[in-house]
Symmetry: D2
């Protein structure tokens, strides 16, 4: 069968990437694209790279317009999805690329986002190690899915295997991310102007304020539960993360360098073995051979997370370097992969492991 699809926020970067991927997906028909201020305009005016969708016109984002589709993607600023999803009915598969349904902790939500808390949906990172299994299992048959924060899923995928195996200490994580500006969306802000970013590395959200921090904590609590019993995320969860993103002059991409202390006298084989066990059978999350580290160019346009692992005994830390395309594996690709799983399609349908490089 062919599933009918609606994509809201279709004039933005996340919405555009969902459309780019779905345009090559054999099992869906993109029937409706919606926007707010751009409603009524041709989609191609805002996504001039999507030539195969030249025939589509942006509708207004309303519950009525979104209703009646088999699948609805929401690519809206946080706080906006609730008004639409209630009206969509249980038969539709709804995938939110925004933040509204990611967090399980009301405390975290209030501290990092504020406003009304929304119930958590199934988290759309299939390869995550959670409570002795993979997140994939929870996605089978799901009708409500929360696509991940791009930085959050990158760091969670980087460290979860080590946390689950008990070879690193999640109580003193340090992660620094080189990120492209497309993750911030098409917002008209001075700090996102090309003149500000070209030729410069610009830090932001320094000192523990980034909204993806509680999302990582939540994922690592779940990973830790595989060996330490179930836990809940919160100020006392024992997960501590120093998290610093740095905007660099590339449109897309995240290169996350994440480190954590080695614990329990873990041997090199035990450490490397943790990641091998977690990802050895995965298609879209790949551990590179020893001594190799990924570049973001290698995953541009691909749904792949590439992971390089170093064991620095002098510093007593594991160093995990992970490359992800923030718009694909970080957002739209994760959404479509989760969709495939939820619907029982082959998981990789419409997705590629090959990047566009150079």
């Amino acid at each position: 069968m062919t599933y009918s699809v609606a994509v809201s926020g279709a004039s933005g970067y996340a919405g555009g990437e969902i459309l780019r991927i779905l345009a090559a997906h054999p099992d869906v028909e993109i029937r409706t694209v919606t926007a707010h201020s751009n409603a009524g305009q041709p989609l191609i005016r805002h996504q001039p790279h999507l030539r195969s969708l030249e025939h589509l016109t942006l509708s207004d984002t309303t519950s009525e317009v979104l209703a009646g589709h088999d699948i609805v993607f929401l690519a809206l600023p946080h706080g906006q999805s609730g008004q639409y999803t209630d009206a969509l009915g249980d038969t539709a598969l709804v995938i939110d690329a925004g933040a509204d349904h990611r967090l399980e902790s009301v405390t975290d939500w209030e501290q990092f986002y504020g406003g009304n808390f929304h119930e958590p949906w199934v988290y759309g990172v299939p390869e995550l190690v959670v409570a002795g299994a993979k997140q994939r299992e929870r996605l089978i048959g799901a009708s409500r899915i929360a696509a991940p924060g791009c930085n959050a899923s990158t760091v969670s995928l980087s460290l979860a295997p080590g946390v689950a195996a008990g070879v690193i200490d999640p109580g003193d994580i340090v992660t620094v991310l080189a990120v492209g500006p497309s993750g911030a969306g098409k917002s008209l802000k001075t700090n996102l102007l090309a003149s500000e970013i070209l030729g410069s590395a610009n830090p932001y959200a320094v000192g523990g304020t980034h909204r993806h921090i509680p999302e990582i904590r939540q994922a690592l609590v779940a990973a830790r539960a595989t060996h330490a019993g179930a836990g809940v995320t919160g100020p006392d969860d024992g997960i501590r993360i120093s998290f610093t993103p740095v905007l660099v002059p590339m449109a897309r991409g995240i290169l996350a360098t994440s480190t954590a202390p080695i614990v329990n006298d873990a041997t090199d084989a035990e450490i490397r073995g943790a990641w091998e066990a977690a990802y050895g059978d995965e298609t879209f999350v790949q551990l590179l051979p020893e001594g190799q580290f990924p570049r973001t160019a290698d995953v541009l346009g691909a749904n792949t997370a590439l992971i390089g692992l170093a064991i620095d005994r002098a510093a007593n830390r594991v160093v995990v370097v992970t490359a992800v395309d923030n718009l694909v594996k970080g957002t739209a690709g994760a959404a479509v992969q989760s969709m495939n799983i939820a619907l029982g399609l082959a998981e990789g349908t419409g997705l590629t492991v090959n990047g566009v490089a150079p």
Copy 2:
């Protein structure tokens, strides 16, 4: 008086930047520029941006050519400077922009560089806190100066105040640097091609192998000596650094994100006060006001290190973000600033605090 100057390695990036700065310096005359394979060619062919030096021709790099100048800058690959400096005599001021004379520990040299060890020269980072004083004092009247490694001095300046004040623990430092490729010089290597670096973030020397690590350890041992007694650098010095550089698509610049655990129940005021005390009177190393963080564009072409400081109580870490132009404050500017001090000139002569932005 006007000092006569010779610059070796003048066709490379470090040599070119030394020349760019010296060309605007009122107290020197650039008399000689030297190179190896490019000897005999006009300098302008290799440094087409140095229009005011169009009249200079590259000589061969030999002791004879370098002799007889008041000041000699060496911008050569490590291991090459020794053959020239012995012949230069004590009256000349010799400043080595290479690594040969930076390290005090034979063990470190052998582990990270190899080959013959060379005696350490006075380290050319005037603002560094060392043993209750500033490195500046050691530079006065010096005749042999080792300009710093660009990444090393950036990280050392970032953390030395906190180490000296005893408010952070140098035993678990994590630093990740976004760096431009000019730091790697004009080497013809595939990984330095524009096609490889444009649009991509590329890690290298992951896992504790970068040669600037012992240089940072050495600086922090000296900083710690201000409150803990003198120490020597080495495997047992108690300094541990996880150090990961990431090449990003900007020609110049280092943005170092360095974190270390808060210790001794240090208050916010004590922590911030450590950096304020260290740099409050400095021109070229500036602590930004609370909540502000630097971009590399802000220091492009300038001799300024700009430092932003965050105290992340949730992660129990101080986060120091420092922006430096690797070729200026990281190399050539540090060399000229040190030269000014050694010669008794005004320290800022020929140097600027203002970056070229956007």
Copy 3:
């Protein structure tokens, strides 16, 4: 059936892009990849973005290794393909991404390339207007195909419709191209280093020396033949092109701005009509609506040439701005599209019209 394929020059940029496209092509099996100095190494070491081809190892490029495949792609420096193709036999489809078989004129070859002249093969730009038809017709059933020069095909596609219709004068063409460095390959040259190209626009081959000039002349002679009788290219062919490429800081892409005088009192409708007639039915060459002009980001990774057309009456010139991904529509995509036609497959198999943006 599934066609067996060999790709030579597989460690370079053009070879890598052929592989990236073929990896998603349902009708081929990539059986062999070859290189020279890198023979014996895993392909993935040189093409780390091609995760689905991780199992392949580079063989040496020899006639023996290339023999026995249904299709052979040659991505070699010019002058090298001849030694292999003679031995390949007539049953194999051979597609040369190099320059050896593009030019029909011995004089042009000797002036712009030198060395032995090779017989011209069928030119692999299906949409080109030639002698009242499309180049596509000549590709049907071909067994030897010359993939185009990326800049050449971009400019030829830009202007051929106007020349064929007699509304512009090919005797005074001016074209200036913003190009990414990947078109120059992985050569280790100082001017291709990232430090040289980041933040800078660098012209090269200024003043009529670029090797793609005779290739454009040849295409426009063929286009003109549709209304003016057949012609041959050469110094007296009446085609004059001022051609200036400028390297800009993007890994891929060509944005060609091509202008030519309006002739024969052509009306706006006649001018626009020429391009509409030529490309109205094409999938991979698209004329944008009036007032719209393409960006290279819109075609990144896609096989699309997007064309914007302006009629500047004050300057009496037609201005054609065309965006192409040099590695796809400019090289590898053109090669695969031509392959599809030659083999009787659906022309767009394995190719996409949608770019990867932002």
Copy 4:
């Protein structure tokens, strides 16, 4: 004496660059900086690279605030300067970096800008060949100066020598410019976002609509007057320019490729001689030796226009490639250089010929 200076539009890119240059100028004191919506804020918040001006606060832009300074720089959107300048009095030197006082032709103004026409001021491009002399002479003692449009002065300087000497035909000029986005200012527009410009070449104002076209026509009419009698600019002035700017991913810089037909059987010596005669004695406009062409990196931060000249006999065109930093020689440097001339200071005071590269 020290001149007191006020700079309006000080939070923008042009204003910031005027300040960067003036901060190093020995004969001026920056007393006042003004802005509109940012009034009341510290300058450093908007120009974080100008560390030496950290003490300045933005005042509101009013006639009262600007009055009483020896020199006033206006860096405002066009149409806004008139309200201030009338009130400034004749004793102040006023330099407008905006467009209001550049054009002599009311017709041109109305066609390309619209709104009230303002009287032309002395045009601030000292090296321009005009009516047998240099524009420099007109700047001596001037009290009202119009700084040039960055693209306009780049193209005018490129071609004026050939027009003045009668060796090229200004009736069929084609110029294509690779430009950085800083020329468009800090405007919050989607097409200026980093995500839109990184990795892409984006044309704009295609087909003869760019506002710098009449400014170039005016300069070339003046240049032609040196051999053909005085002329006026306008639709019948015989100057025809096809002008296409292309935004490329570099913050600053213009690389203009300008071509015009060779006329009057001009020999190579006559052609090259025209540019040599015009610029042989100039410091800030330099003709490169035969076969050499400039890169924008070579003039970054410098007040230099570097010109490469090719004579393409096959195309019967002269090709002039000129590199300029749009914010320096294109705007702020031209303004300060003109100021120096007007005040009788050494022309190069506070300006450099050396670029910041790589």
